[in-house]
């Protein structure tokens, strides 16, 4: 043991003597095709600085990865950097003093001026100090439509949700699944949120999710949202896949008409070699309310007691938000960059649509930012049951939903 320690110390010392190079173990749950390609951009850029990116991918979803990440941080054996949805997930870890304060990096790099929308940086801020580096903006508010499926069914590609609903019987007649849905809880919940914003409007969404207005959640406007969701449920009845990208694959291969999914789905289309506007269409806000929710991913840096590592951590934080890396990463990932000041001419149709909306300030906070993880999972539980059980009536689900909102913190 002692020998081992001594050797490691010696190695660390030697390494320090060279450039400030260090191995950083970075955990994340980006393992699908587009995601992995995007992460590779980070790794490439970081390795170029003389450091070494040790990839700690954990497949599954945040649900699999988060217990591992949290228990390692709590157990005193933290990774050097980790993906987490920014927002309220890391609050307690920051309060417990387990996360590295990045304020000096942020100040030096002028994050406050470049990060757009600023709400992203706010989510990283606790007591005036910045603890995370936002890397992208993900918006749930999209529907992805397969040109092939509509061509096979002999109808035009819809341009908004109402048309989509109207076209469903034609698709079904052609043996297609109108709406592709993965059966995991977060997908059910996410799709509901999108329908909520599209059908009920952003104000209603804010009232319920930001202000936790239980009356609004039980109100007639929301009832319409639930009816719409029930209709969507019927359209997705034959979609028997689990993972979101399997559902996306149904759209790519023309087996399904469309999928309500966040902008990360675009990465899958890209990997499949499809072109926006030609092979598929994307409609922000379901073509009804053109709006973008600005959730996203951020990197946190658990505190270490090694100054070398800390320096490397800050270096990585700096790098993640550098213009070049932002462009490369987000192009691969299909998400929007967090900087308002970079040129994205390489972006495709869908991304450009997103950027325009973002620039126009038509934005919404994401569920992660406003709801606690507890409330989110309660809603997920409700939604996954609702989407998968045709006998669960819209009214019953709404009542339960209002209850959860009333108890939300």
């Amino acid at each position: 043991m002692n020998l081992y320690k001594a050797t490691t110390a010696a190695i660390a010392f030697c390494a320090a003597g060279a450039v400030s190079a260090a191995d950083l173990e970075v955990t994340h749950w980006w393992t699908s095709g587009g995601e992995a390609a995007a992460v590779a951009e980070f790794a490439k850029a970081f390795d170029a600085t003389g450091n070494n990116w040790v990839d700690g991918a954990i497949a599954g979803s945040g649900g699999t990865a988060r217990p591992i990440i949290v228990s390692r941080i709590i157990g005193g054996d933290p990774m050097h950097a980790t993906q987490l949805n920014h927002g309220r997930q890391a609050e307690e870890l920051i309060e417990a003093g387990l996360m590295l304060d990045l304020t000096d990096v942020a100040t030096a790099e002028g994050w406050a001026d470049t990060v757009n929308p600023t709400s992203l940086l706010d989510s990283c801020t606790v007591d005036g100090k910045i603890y995370c580096a936002p890397v992208n903006i993900h918006s749930w508010q999209w529907i992805w439509l397969s040109h092939q499926a509509y061509a096979d069914a002999g109808v035009d590609v819809p341009s908004n949700w109402d048309e989509f609903v109207a076209s469903a019987p034609a698709l079904e007649a052609a043996g297609k699944i109108p709406l592709a849905m993965g059966q995991q809880a977060w997908q059910s919940s996410g799709a509901f949120g999108v329908i909520n914003v599209a059908v009920g409007g952003p104000d209603l969404w804010n009232k319920i999710n930001v202000n936790k207005d239980a009356d609004a959640a039980a109100g007639p406007e929301m009832a319409k949202v639930f009816e719409a969701a029930a209709a969507a449920r019927a359209m997705a009845a034959n979609s028997k896949v689990q993972d979101w990208n399997q559902a996306t694959n149904l759209v790519i291969t023309g087996q399904a008409g469309g999928q309500v999914m966040g902008d990360w789905a675009q990465g899958e289309f890209q990997v499949a070699g499809q072109v926006a506007g030609q092979d598929y269409t994307c409609l922000p806000g379901l073509g009804v309310n053109e709006i973008i929710s600005t959730g996203g991913d951020a990197f946190y840096f658990p505190k270490q007691d090694d100054p070398e590592i800390e320096a490397a951590q800050k270096e990585l934080a700096k790098l993640l938000l550098s213009p070049e890396v932002q462009v490369n990463f987000n192009l691969k990932k299909g998400s929007l960059p967090v900087r308002g000041d970079i040129d994205l001419t390489a972006a495709n149709d869908c991304m450009k649509k997103g950027l325009e909306i973002l620039a126009s300030g038509n934005i919404l906070q994401s569920g992660d930012q406003v709801l606690s993880a507890d409330t989110s999972t309660q809603i997920e539980d409700l939604m996954v049951e609702f989407w998968n059980d045709p006998s669960y009536s819209a009214a019953d689900a709404q009542a339960k939903y209002a209850e959860i909102i009333a108890d939300a913190d």
Binding site: M1, N2, K5, E25, T27, H28, W30, T31, S32, G33, A36, V39, A40, A43, V54, D55, G56, A57, I58, A59, G60, T64, P67, I68, S71, R72, I74, G75, G76, D77, M79, D243, N245, Q246, N249, E268, V271, A272
Partner: protein, 313 residues
Amino acid sequence: MTDTPVALSAAPRGTKPRKRLTPTNIMLYGTLFVAALYYLLPLYVMMVTSLKGMPEIRFGNVFAPPVEITFEPWVKAWAEACTGINCDGLSRGFWNSVQILVPSVVISIAIASVNGYALSLWKFKGSEVFFTILIFGAFIPYQVMIYPIVILLREAGEGLSLITGTKIRLMGSIWGLVIVHTIFGMPILTLLFRNYFASVPEELFKAARVDGAGFWQIYFQIMLPMALPIFVVAIILQVTGIWNDFLFGVIFTKPDTYPMTVQLNNIVNSVQGVKEYNVNMAATMLTGLVPLIIYFASGKLFVRGIAAGAVKG
């Protein structure tokens, strides 16, 4: 003896009992074959699926044998499948698993066998109480214990650091994992060893005491050589359990030292486009190979050991 017909005057009454195709035998073997089919089906499915190409999987059925046998899924599962940005398949995890497996199996069995020995032959006040608690422990879902165990290991690491003066971290080191495996293997293993040693004639133990042998001498020189069958069972159970463990492996190791199961999970759950069932199945079989070989190889020993350890309630 040849079957030359010998004219016997007094033929036995009743039918000759040595007939192969009696209704009983047909039923007996029939049931066994049907049952064997149920147990073998998944193995067959895994095998044929892992030898098919993706197009064949998409349009064929799971039971159809491969039209074109390809070993590509196996190669991919072993050496090429990607998780995140690492594309070296399961190979990385194999040696990690071995490195985790060996000390965990050795230490957990060493401790559990001593426990069982003390519990059956050197009972002391309260020993039965501890044993009962241990057995209750077998029913606690592991996941429930993760949180407190993580805290416990952190504190223990800090305590050890204080005592030894060097920085010792149990979390994230292989020894933390070994401790966890030892703890969670303890209830069932201790039960097995206790039952086994309880069935050793007590007089043997008495004779050794009269011969002046103490606790450890009796353990090492008398009991240990006698306990081979139960050690085989314990080794089989632990190798299987530890090799197949995902939860502890992923929490108490780092990417460099991830065991094979973590990589299997990564491969299986890293869906890139369509699910590559053939690669998944090949990866699955590769991961299951070590415990499977142990089962196939141990054969009768396992049954014999179980008989020795489990029979006494």
